[in-house]
Symmetry: C2
Subunit: 195 residues, 2 copies
């Protein structure tokens, strides 16, 4: 996807971080469809040419901004038990971050469907790495004998986790907080896995 | 909420059904925010005055159209086992209906957050009746001794069910079909409840 020439100037990490923050702020404020490269350029006092040179397209820029937003990957977690790993995953975030993530997810729910490029970028940059990390935790749990390798819930763990998030937004119109997610792990996810 | 006078003309059930269908078609096509009473009036060749007289407001009209769309309530289901009841609930719909419902849910995900009146109407007319019906099935299961009364998953059943729906849309960009929902019941919902 990248059309970078060999002569392009790299942005500093700090400048990139500022741009990503601005993109996410705009995404929460106006949603994906109303988010334009012009608005991003204006908000960050940069040129559209720079944005396109650096990121190629709006879906790619948005997906990279979202990935930048993810501080800790579940793949680094290894507490020795699946229960410990899942709770460490929830503990690695905070309620303020979850609130912000909720605003982003709302803004993307319809856009994903109408923008295949966005869905592809989100899948490659956000969902697949996260699913792979969760699968790493699960594989270790199977190897330790905590979860039976043929437990059918293994195929639904990401659906359970994302689903808990969305359901809280849609049913209760509230951002899920750590306490809700932690209770959901103990009441639903771990029992379904037989842990 | 209703401001109907005693002299208003009742629409025939058939005419109401036509109006509801048109509202849902528009909702899937343009989303909630872009859906105007003008557009509904034009599409259904009725007057805006009639729409307001009959339904009071856009959120109320949309919520009633969604409720009209729900053919069978889970409350009528009583197969003698929770597994049977849940599967009968899934079997009472069809994949075409689920596909249509998915379009509606996508169109409402962001709107709910920005339109408290819409969320209130959806809660009263759609969510609470559905939650009550699911709770009826669960209460019977507890009375039969199938589910322990203090099982913590009892508080998350609607979140599990709606969550499975949303997760399929967001992760896989696919409408959930009966086969997916049925597998989810057997792999996640029933084991979490200890059934």
């Amino acid at each position: 996807m990248s059309t970078a020439s060999t002569t392009r100037t790299r942005l500093t990490p700090q400048r990139s971080a500022e741009l990503y923050e601005a993109v996410l702020d705009l995404l929460r404020e106006v949603g994906y469809d109303a988010l334009t490269m012009d608005a991003i350029a204006a908000r960050t006092r940069s040129s559209k040419a720079t944005l396109y040179r650096q990121w190629g397209s709006k879906p790619e820029l948005v997906a990279k901004a979202l990935r930048h937003n993810k501080p800790v990957g579940a793949g680094d977690i290894d507490t020795g038990s699946l229960r410990g790993d899942f709770h460490a995953m929830v503990d690695s975030t905070d309620d303020c971050q979850l609130e912000k993530d909720s605003g982003l997810i709302r803004g993307l729910a319809q856009a994903i469907h109408h923008n295949p490029d966005l869905h592809k970028a989100l899948r490659e940059l956000i969902m697949e790495p996260e699913i792979n990390e969760i699968n790493t935790l699960l594989r270790r749990a199977v190897e330790r004998g905590e979860v039976s390798a043929d437990n059918p819930a293994l195929g639904f763990v990401t659906h359970m986790l994302f689903g808990a998030f969305f359901a809280r937004l849609m049913i209760d119109d509230r951002a899920p907080d750590r306490s809700y997610l932690s209770d959901y792990l103990d009441a639903v996810v771990l029992p379904a896995l037989g842990v």
